[in-house]
């Protein structure tokens, strides 16, 4: 579910920051920003946000590449509209991990869908993708129907394991364990840079041999965006079969695969910024404790995070 910091939480951050500043004055905004960056924890000076899954892959091609249509798509649509005003073609490629509500709920508010010049291609391994998107815009759930979108919209159903080229980007898929199934994507650009998007993917304790396939899928990637919603203990007990993974498993898989960076992704909406920050700190420590080769940089996703490869 999408969440947002409430007034009390924002106020608490401001109070803590003022206390940490200890009466200091700042000559300009640059000095104030330096204080935030160098002296405050991320969770004290910012927020991880609470938009649901939506990730843009920008590899220098003209077309857009977007993983999932969570509530973060609203902001992306607004920004893409701005970029298109500067001449970028209005061609959008979507890649859906699965059809659960938190991964498609942003589409009804995606501004380019209301532009008759937009061309939208929705890739999914689920044959019922179009049905799901249409259903969420039935008048029971939303005032504007799917057919009221002015853009040209096309669905492409992918076969799991299939490799294809989409507007200059190589795309591979992998089947993942999640209720109603989910699929991970590996994107490789013309220069060989690769990003893996693997969310809503549980690695079951009763079939750990299957993880070999994920190690292969993550192999030597520059960035793995990985579902780390729960602790390992939760995925082994109260949240078993809920379809999500942990920071510890994600780090182990990335270590085995020789991946360069891991972005902890799909945070538990019940966790506030302090809990997520602690999970990030723990993850960095676990990576160091268990490292047996090249270091793995462990990032923690937040709304608006940009990672340059």
């Amino acid at each position: 579910m999408p969440i947002a910091a409430n007034a009390g939480q924002v106020r608490s951050k401001i109070v803590n920051a003022l206390m940490a500043a200890g009466g200091r004055s700042f000559a300009n905004a640059q000095d104030a920003n330096r204080f935030i960056d160098e002296e405050l924890y991320f969770s004290a000076g910012a927020t991880y946000g609470g938009a649901t899954s939506c990730v843009e892959i920008d590899c220098g091609e003209e077309a857009y590449f977007v993983c999932d249509m969570g509530s973060g798509l609203l902001e992306l649509g607004r920004d893409a509209t701005r970029r298109c005003r500067y001449g970028r073609p209005k061609r959008y490629n979507f890649f859906l991990s699965h059809l659960h509500w938190d991964h498609i709920m942003g589409f009804p508010t995606f501004l380019p869908a209301f532009d008759p010049d937009s061309e939208i291609v929705i890739h999914s391994c689920h044959e019922d993708a179009e049905q799901a998107l249409r259903r969420q815009q039935e008048d029971t759930f939303f005032p504007a129907s799917f057919d009221s979108s002015a853009a040209s919209i096309r669905f492409v159903i992918l076969r799991p394991g299939e490799e294809l080229e989409v507007d200059g980007l190589q795309v591979r898929t992998i089947r993942q364990h999640h209720p109603h199934e989910s699929f991970g994507y590996r994107f490789t650009d013309r220069t060989g840079r690769s990003v893996v998007y693997s969310t809503d993917s549980e690695h079951n304790i009763d079939d750990m041999d299957k993880e070999v396939a994920f190690v292969g899928f993550f192999q030597n990637s520059d960035l793995v965006i990985c579902d780390t919603m729960y602790s390992l203990a939760e995925t082994s007990s109260t949240k078993e079969h809920w379809g999500h993974s942990s920071n510890v498993v994600a780090i182990d898989l990335c270590h085995q695969a020789g991946a360069k960076r891991l972005a902890l992704f799909h945070h538990d909406p019940l966790h506030d910024d302090d809990v997520i920050q602690r999970m990030h700190d723990d993850s960095i420590r676990y990576e160091k404790l268990t490292r047996d080769g090249q270091p793995l940089e462990v990032l923690c996703a937040y709304d608006g995070l940009e990672v340059t490869i």
Binding site: I205, D206, M208, E211, S231, L232, A233, E234, S236, S237, S246, N247, V248, V249, D252, Q256, D282, S283, R285, Y286, L289, T290, D292
Partner: protein, 115 residues
């Protein structure tokens, strides 16, 4: 993987040694399953996993502990962990496995090798 089995008056102590990682977790898993069966056959209620000679354990080793816990629950055996080194103690905390298992600082004295 080198593993010892030691009896006390009311528990079996299984003592694996080394690293439990992608190369060794299956053996660790198998030894734990054997230990659970042995504990039950001996009419004991507690299996203690002596971690004092474990250098490090990856998520697969931790999850093997969960599998063993499920097996143990089916035969009314309780698994306790004991004597983790500093690294293992951190890993148990980070993974929140310290909430799934009771962890003792020391391993109780045994009565000699059971097998």
């Amino acid at each position: 993987m080198e593993v010892t089995f030691v009896r006390t008056s009311d528990a079996l102590i299984v003592g694996p040694a080394g690293r439990v990682d992608e190369a060794t977790w299956k053996e660790f898993d198998s030894e734990l399953a054997t230990a659970v069966l042995q504990t039950s056959r001996d009419g004991l209620e507690t299996l203690i996993v002596d971690l004092s000679r474990i250098d490090y354990m990856s998520s697969r080793g931790l999850r093997a502990l969960t599998v063993a816990k499920h097996q143990a629950q089916a035969v009314d055996v309780t698994i306790r962990l004991a004597s983790p080194n500093d690294v293992m103690r951190e890993i148990l905390a980070i993974s929140r496995y310290d909430r799934l298992f009771a962890i003792d600082d020391r391993v109780p004295a045994g009565r000699g090798a059971a097998s």
